[in-house]
Symmetry: C2
Subunit: 293 residues, 2 copies
């Protein structure tokens, strides 16, 4: 049971965490903290938070558990703002998509990494953003990856894992570097490609006509290009090396496929599409089986 939960950044993820923990009866009180009063009053009106303040230092008072749910670029500033105020015994976690960058930011903001800080990342979300998009079942049957550092308290890690299990999520542990490598491939690269495709088509002179004739396949393919630009700017900056590695690999593979198309090699094209379809069908079946469990 969590006493006073403090959500720093009450958007899609932070808001959904509050709603999920409330729905599970796992939290007594939720305090919201962000820079925008409009955001906070909306969150209170929606029943996501009980109280709010725009002052991070004040938000720390009496905290039992805190969540840094702000874009990656705001992590260090926020950490510095709460460093002298966060209760030593209170557990702190985050939801950022690049774990090495978060650990660096929290370490820099606090002057050292608090033993009760447990870096974490829920593999869940939608292309929508803002607290109005939050919903209690966002994490149901989803994975959450926790990446404790060497100095992290095992008890704090267990507390954060328990919080996530209360939202319906499944928890796994790995190193920050491994997390960043995997997420660059499964999440960051597809977002970069979706943004790049929409941008490329939107710069063509016939853009209005092109979008007029696009259909369901295009809608699904580009859904993630409607994601929050600030969040994704920060992810690209924070996880730059891992993203560049998979992006350059992809560019090489795409160029090789372009050459197959250019030389009209039907047998090779079919073999490569078949290989991709098999992999994608297996992924889809496994994902469906997990959701059906």
């Amino acid at each position: 049971m969590i006493g006073r939960l403090v959500i720093f950044g009450v958007g899609l993820i932070g808001g959904s965490m509050a709603l999920a923990l409330r729905a599970a009866g796992a939290v007594s009180e939720v305090v919201g903290c962000s820079r925008s009063e409009a955001n906070l009053t909306e969150a209170q009106r929606l029943g996501v938070i009980d109280r709010w303040t725009t002052d991070p230092a004040l938000a720390c008072a009496g905290a039992d558990l805190g969540v840094l749910a702000v874009p990656l670029g705001s992590m260090q500033g926020l950490s510095a703002a709460i460093a002298g105020h966060w209760p030593a015994e209170a557990v702190l976690t985050d939801v950022g998509s690049s774990k090495q960058a978060v650990l660096d930011a929290v370490r820099a903001g606090f002057g050292r990494l608090p033993r009760n800080f447990v870096a974490g990342h829920p593999i869940a979300g939608t292309e929508r953003s803002g607290v109005a998009a939050a919903f209690a079942s966002l994490f149901q049957d989803r994975l959450v990856i926790l990446t404790p550092a060497d100095e992290t308290s095992p008890l704090a890690a267990e507390r954060v894992a328990g919080m996530w299990r209360a939202t319906g999520a499944r928890v796994e542990f790995m190193t920050p570097a491994h997390h960043d490598h995997l997420l660059a491939a499964t999440s960051h690269l597809p977002h970069v490609l979706a943004y790049a495709l929409v941008e490329s088509l939107a710069r063509m002179s016939e853009r209005d006509e092109i979008f007029h004739y696009a259909a369901g396949g295009f809608r699904d393919f580009t859904r993630i290009a409607s994601s929050d630009p600030v969040v994704w700017r920060d992810i690209c900056l924070a996880n730059r090396d891992a993203i560049l590695e998979v992006l350059e690999r992809f560019q090489g593979d795409l160029d090789s496929l372009r050459q197959v198309i250019a030389r009209g090699d039907g047998a090779e094209l079919e073999a490569r599409f078949e290989f991709a379809k098999d992999a994608r069908d297996r992924f889809s079946e496994k994902m469906q089986a997990q959701l059906d469990q």
Copy 2:
């Protein structure tokens, strides 16, 4: 009203056309023709067709309207097989994703382009294939592009447009070359990218782990990589020039975005993501408005 409708290739598209026209009471009898007896008996069992034959020449007897719904690579051979048998007064159309290639194939197969042949393409589909995936509402509120040639009979074009309107689709007309250019951007390029991304990740040594941690965004982004490899091999061969043009443009834009990430230019990254998000949000709102009409 259509008397005897002949569907050559009873898969997702051909099967859904038959179901939609039956549901609308717009057809008296549906004859299926394909190379696979198993496919045809399944189509008959599912109520998609009334009768079938594996012999294209026999399928032509008494036809009122015919649809070539086979992969692009099979269009010329099929045209040649029915050329001496297709009734001169019967209207013929197709559903291929590259209109110049279809016109060339039909012209080559028949020896000349029949006046009653009207090239067409429904902008609709799913990543599934085969007659079991067919459903009557696939074309509801979707666009169908017809690309008549100079020698095409206006009456035949109007007949095909009427058939599509009976399925619930909206019909537009344009030149074959313009269709191929637009579809390369909105459909063919995204399919190539989805296949290429899944292939690239599936060749990485940690592929099982990567797919384990992939989530909803990845699932939507890669949905079209589950499409039929033979259909997409043929599209890439048939519409090669237009695809290479947009693919090379995309490669340039992607590399420019990679450079922005590499040099860590946050302002430029945010501006480009914001531009893409705006375009994608506008597309999404328009598409939703069309579906809500």
